[in-house]
Every structure is written in C-alpha cells, then in structure tokens.
C-alpha cells in the first residue's frame, strides 16, 4: 500500500533543548496514501506528501530519530524532506494546496539523511 508522509512545515525551537524540536521538513508520521489528515495537520504547519510507489513499511525509516545508539535523542529526525529545494513547479502546488502527490523517483533526491547528507 502506498504511503503519505506528514511533514513539519515550521521550525519549532527551544532555548536549551532545540535538538529535540521538530524542524521544517522533518517527517512526522507515515500513513496510508489516502489517509485523511486532521484539521490542524495542514499548511503552513504541516505538508502532506503522498508517494504512490513507496509503501508505508518502506517509509517508516524516515520517521526514525537520530539517536546516540543508546536510546538518547540527538535530533528529532534523522531524515528530512528538503521542501525548500524541490522544483518550483511542485513547490508552488505544495504552497497553494499543502500537499503533493509524487513518485519515489520525483522525491528521492529531496529526502536526505541529515548526518551523511546522502539523498535517497
């Protein structure tokens, strides 16, 4: 079953625990492709990216924390969606509707491991 990813649209911040806050582009949850999101799960607070050829199970890794290996959180998410770098034509749709439907090929270069900077 293809998936949808709810992505944080804003930067949260904290004076001493900023590492644990959600940043713009952080994937928050993975749901079914057709999932109907809640009233507050929409732009500008969140974006919805529906990916037609990535399963819910395959996308789970995008919502993993960056941890120290002993359970301590170093960053809220290891991966990010580079929402500010996607092509302008798609970004326009995202800005106006709050969601886009893409294939993995279309989005893979904009899903990035924050540590290695390697994209999918």
């Amino acid at each position: 079953m293809p998936c949808s990813i709810l992505v944080r649209g804003k930067n949260n911040s904290h004076p001493t625990k900023d590492y644990a806050t959600y940043k713009r582009g952080d994937p928050v949850v993975v749901m079914r492709f057709n999932h109907v999101y809640g009233k507050l799960e929409k732009a500008p607070n969140f974006y919805i990216i529906r990916i037609s050829d990535v399963s819910v199970a395959q996308a789970q890794k995008y919502i993993g924390e960056h941890s120290d290996g002993n359970g301590a959180m170093l960053r809220r998410r290891l991966f990010k969606i580079k929402v500010d770098s996607i092509p302008s034509s798609i970004k326009t749709i995202l800005a106006s509707t709050g969601e886009i439907t893409v294939t993995k090929a279309q989005i893979r270069n904009y899903i990035q491991n924050k540590i290695t900077s390697v994209t999918e």
């Binding site: 709810l6 944080r8 949260n12 904290h14 625990k17 900023d18 644990a20 806050t21 959600y22 952080d26 928050v28 949850v29 993975v30 749901m31 492709f33 057709n34 999932h35 109907v36 999101y37 809640g38 009233k39 507050l40 799960e41 607070n45 969140f46 789970q60 919502i63 924390e65 359970g71 959180m73 809220r76």
Partner: protein, 555 residues
C-alpha cells in the same frame, strides 16, 4: 490558574490523526503560554512512537495525554478504544519533566511502553492505563530513570501484563533522585512485578502483583499483595496469595466476587485524596481492594414491574450477544446518523427533541464531525417512528421526504456508504442514500433495482453516463432489515455493493467521482422506506470490517 488547551486526536474529523503529529504541532513553551497542553485521544489504533521533549513545562503548566471518559477502555484491553500499538521501539518516551498519561492503552512488540527519563525536577503521573507487554528480554513496561532531586513519579490504577522476557518488569524504579508513589496497580504475568534499582523514597501500597518474581530488589511498602513469597516488608503485606479474576484467560483482571487474595485487603486512600475510584471509574469503598480494580457488586436484576431501558439489541432475535465492534471502531468515519442512537430534533435549529411520531428537522451526526443532516420544509420531513426494527424506532421517508445538507466534505480517496434499512414497497427506491455535488449531480448513491428489488449503487461521474453497480440478488424490500454497503476505490476506479455482508461483482467505473462532495442526501422518491442508520467512511471497507458491521446490526 492555567487553562487547558485541548486538541483532539481522532481517526477522522479531529485536530490530529496521530498522537505523534499532536506532539509535533503543539510542542511549545506552555509556561509562557500559561496553558495545560492536552491531547484528547479518541477510539482508534495509533501506531507511531511518541517522544515528549522540546517543550517548556512546569508543575502547573504540564502536558496531559488522555482519553475522554466516554472513549476510555473499561478496564479490559479493547481495540475499539484508543490504543497505541507501536511496531518497533518504545511506545512513549517522557523526557519532559511534567507529563501525565491517563486512561490510555499501550503496547508494542519489542520495547518499553512508557520510558520516563526527565533531566530536571519532574512530576510525572500515569493512571488508569492498560499496558500489554512483550517477550523482549530486559525491557520494562513502565521504566523510570534520571530526574533531578525532588522529582516525583506517581503511578496508580494501572493494569500491566505479559512482560515476559528475561528480567522484564511491570514497573522498574531506577531513579535515585525520585520519590516514587506506586498505588493500586495490577501487574500480571510479568517476569518481574516491581523492580527496585534506586529511588530517593518509595511509597508502594495496594499493588497486586501476580507474576513470577513479584517484588524484585528492596521494594519498600505496605498493603501489597503477591502471588509468590516476596513482599515489600509491610506489616499488612499479603504474600503467596491466589487471586481470582473475572476472566483470567481473556485478560480481564477485574476481581471476581470469589477473590480472597486482594478484595478488601488494601489501605483506604493511600494517595490522600489524589484518587477515589478504580481503573474503570468505579468508586472505591473502604477498605479498598488491592490492585487496579475495586470489586463492585452488579446491580440487582429488575423486579417484575420495574422500568428498564434496552439499548440496541440484536434485531429479530431474543438474546443479547457480545458485539465484535462498533462503527466508530473503523477509521475514516465521516458521518453517522442513527435512528437508534443519534439525537433527533423537530426542527433544523436542533432545539426541540423529537419523540416517536414527530416529523423531524434534523438528525445529529454521531461521527463527531458536526455534519448534522436537516430538513426545514414541513412537507419534506421524514417521521421518527416507533417499532420499525422490532421494537426499535426508525426514520420513515415517504415519496416527498429528504434530509441532507450539512456542507461539503473532501474525499481525496476512497468512499464507503453504509445504510441499514427496511422497506416493504415494491418499486424503485430512486435514491436512498447519496453523496454528490449538488450542483452537478456527480456522486455515488445506494438504491434498489426495480425488477428484483436487489440492492445496487448508482455512480455519476463527469466522464460517463450514470453507471449502475449491481449487488447480489437479495430482495431488500421484503419487510426485513438489510445492511447495504457500497465501496468506491478511487485508485482502482472500482465499486462494489454488499448486501447483508455478501459482495456483488466489482464494477469498473468510468471517470472519477469529484473529490469534494456535498454531504448527504437521503430521499425516498417513489417509495417508502425506513432508515435505522446511515454511515459514510472515507475508505474502502474491508470484508472483515463489513462482517463486523453485519455483526453489529444483526448478530
């Protein structure tokens, strides 16, 4: 005093559709905002692990994750209520100092249910939760570490069971700076019940531990009961006890009337007023029972002549049966109007309740979406009528009656319509339940075949003429109640009609139904029919879900 900022977490129609998204969206400095941040969780399965961190809280501006009482389990694991079921990793991670968990159901496959690891002075409370464990070694259900001097963790009225891996504890106390207050919990079938590693102090009372190694380490308390020879050193401890539950095999750990291990052996009010009821809201009575449940004698059966109220019995049979689920247990509920359970009103303003015999102007939406269906014109109002489904009422539509409106709804994906109805009139029911774009007529509806009276669906798209989807050849106008469901899969562009749980042939649909439809129209046209319930989901119901609904209405 700080006010609560309540946001709902629901499968549909709420503010958020997962607790994780709530945490991401609401993460803030709630001390400056002077609020208590509340996530109110409604019935569904939530699957994403949640870490609570990156907030600013204090003792009076805290985070609370809870179920409302109407949506809460009844002291037994219930998949028709909210439950957090995480496939990999810990379910909840409370790293913030001031957090409360109330009335939740939590499970996962391989890790801790609630890990508490705050850095500063903390006030963490866990109450009225059910935690179902796993078999992973060295993992604990409730696991407290860290915390600064002066921290307090209070855990009461919880049922914890089946943490069976090596050294797996129901509650593990591992915070040298924390004062632990552990009251009235039931811990069943865990490798260890309560494990002590470190604490600043302990107040452990009224806990029922029925496990392999009940009290592990120097757990200090009183009025605790155990199934083995371990105790907490109190003068009123009861060790090597046998406990009797209502249904141990079914994981119903309410105390049975015959219990002699825990009933009436507890300390009254160990929390000094913090709580006075049990896990499912029953009032405690002195002397309190040990464990999460307070035994309450069932009410006396009605005597001859007593007034009784009967709620939704199975139709057409004489016995009560346990239902396997309810319509709210299926995600994607967009609308639910019910002659049995919704509020019926005499006028569109919904101010005067309707009684059987009244023409009705509105039916409230049980789906909590505020999508009430209405009819303002007197001559077009259906009639709320007694004794339609056995002794239960229905809403009778004649040829001029309609209900609808309530505004647009977006169906980005799939649709299922459900109607439970009966009719005795031969002839075409032009449309009995329909959602469509009123201006264009494009949409989907349930109706019946004029020749053999079988259920069918009519689909109108912008790409083709009306397309009929036939169901199985069951006469739905035979005077008996029937459950008719139509599903529309937007991806595959196919629709199917189910009659009394039996699916007809799936039909390919030319063109697409619009994604924004006007909810909801129920009309009678040339027939008279009676509706009990009409439900709309934004998903394709599975056969298992259809079977559950069939059981709900007719089982």
């Amino acid at each position: 005093m700080a006010l609560e900022s309540v946001k709902t977490v629901k499968p549909s129609g709420g503010d958020y559709t997962s607790l994780s998204a709530w945490e991401a969206g609401e993460q803030a400095d709630i001390v400056t905002a002077d609020i208590i941040a509340v996530a109110e969780c409604y019935s569904f399965q939530d699957t994403t692990s949640v870490a609570i961190l990156g907030w600013t809280t204090d003792a009076t501006r805290y985070i609370e994750i809870r179920t409302p009482l109407t949506e809460r389990h009844a002291g037994v694991w219930d998949t028709n209520k909210y439950y957090l079921n995480v496939a990999v990793g810990r379910a909840l991670y409370a790293i913030e100092e001031n957090v409360r968990f109330t009335g939740l159901q939590i499970t996962n496959v391989d890790s801790t249910m609630i890990r508490m690891s705050p850095a500063g002075v903390s006030d963490i409370r866990i109450s009225n939760c059910i935690c179902k464990g796993n078999a992973t070694n060295y993992k604990h259900v409730l696991y407290a570490t860290a915390g600064a001097v002066g921290s307090k963790i209070r855990i009461w009225n919880n049922i914890i069971y089946d943490q069976t891996g090596t050294s797996g504890a129901g509650i593990n106390l591992s915070s040298a700076n924390t004062d632990f207050e552990i009251w009235n919990n039931t811990i069943k079938d865990c490798a260890r019940g309560i494990t002590f590693v470190s604490a600043a102090s302990m107040d452990v009372k009224n806990n029922l531990v029925d496990s392999v190694n009940c009290y592990n380490g120097a757990v200090v308390g009183d009025y605790n009961s155990s199934s083995d020879a371990t105790d907490t050193g109190g003068a009123n401890d009861r060790k090597s006890q046998t406990f009797t539950y209502v249904d141990e095999a079914g994981n119903n750990f309410h105390l049975a009337v015959t219990d002699v291990g825990a009933k009436d052996f507890g300390m009254t009010d160990p929390g000094t007023g913090l709580f006075s009821d049990d896990i499912d809201g029953d009032a405690r009575s002195a002397p309190w029972d040990i464990g999460a449940d307070e035994y309450v004698a069932p009410p006396a059966p009605p005597a001859t002549g007593d007034a009784i109220r009967v709620h939704r019995p199975p139709i057409g049979t004489g016995s009560f049966v346990a239902k396997t689920g309810t319509p709210t247990g299926i995600e994607g509920l967009e609308f639910w109007g019910s002659a049995f359970d919704s509020d019926k009103w005499k006028e569109i303003a919904r101010t005067t309740p309707a009684e059987p015999g009244d023409a009705i102007g509105a039916v409230s939406d049980l789906g909590n979406q505020e999508r009430h269906v209405t009819q303002a014109t007197a001559g077009n109002k259906p009639v709320y009528t007694a004794n339609q489904f056995g002794h239960l009422p229905g809403i009778v539509f004649d040829a001029t009656d309609t209900m609808g409106g309530s505004g647009a709804i977006t169906f980005a994906g799939d649709i299922s319509l459900v109607i439970y109805l009966l009719s005795t009139q031969v002839g075409v029911v032009a449309t009995s339940l329909k959602i469509s774009v009123i201006a264009t007529g494009y949409g989907i509806g349930i109706d019946s075949d004029g020749t053999n009276n079988s259920a069918r669906a009519t689909v109108d798209t912008s790409g083709a003429a009306s397309q009929v989807v036939t169901g199985v050849a069951t006469d739905i106008k035979d005077g008996n109640a029937h459950l008719v469901i139509v599903t529309y899969n937007r991806n595959t562009a196919k629709a199917r009609v189910y009659t009394d749980g039996v699916g007809g042939t799936e039909k390919a649909i030319v063109g697409a139904i619009p994604t924004t439809l006007d909810l909801i129209t129920m009309v009678a046209a040339t027939s008279v029919y009676t509706v009990a319930d009409a439900i709309i989901y934004s998903k394709v119901l599975s056969q298992a879900e259809i079977d559950m609904l069939q059981d709900y209405y007719t089982g």
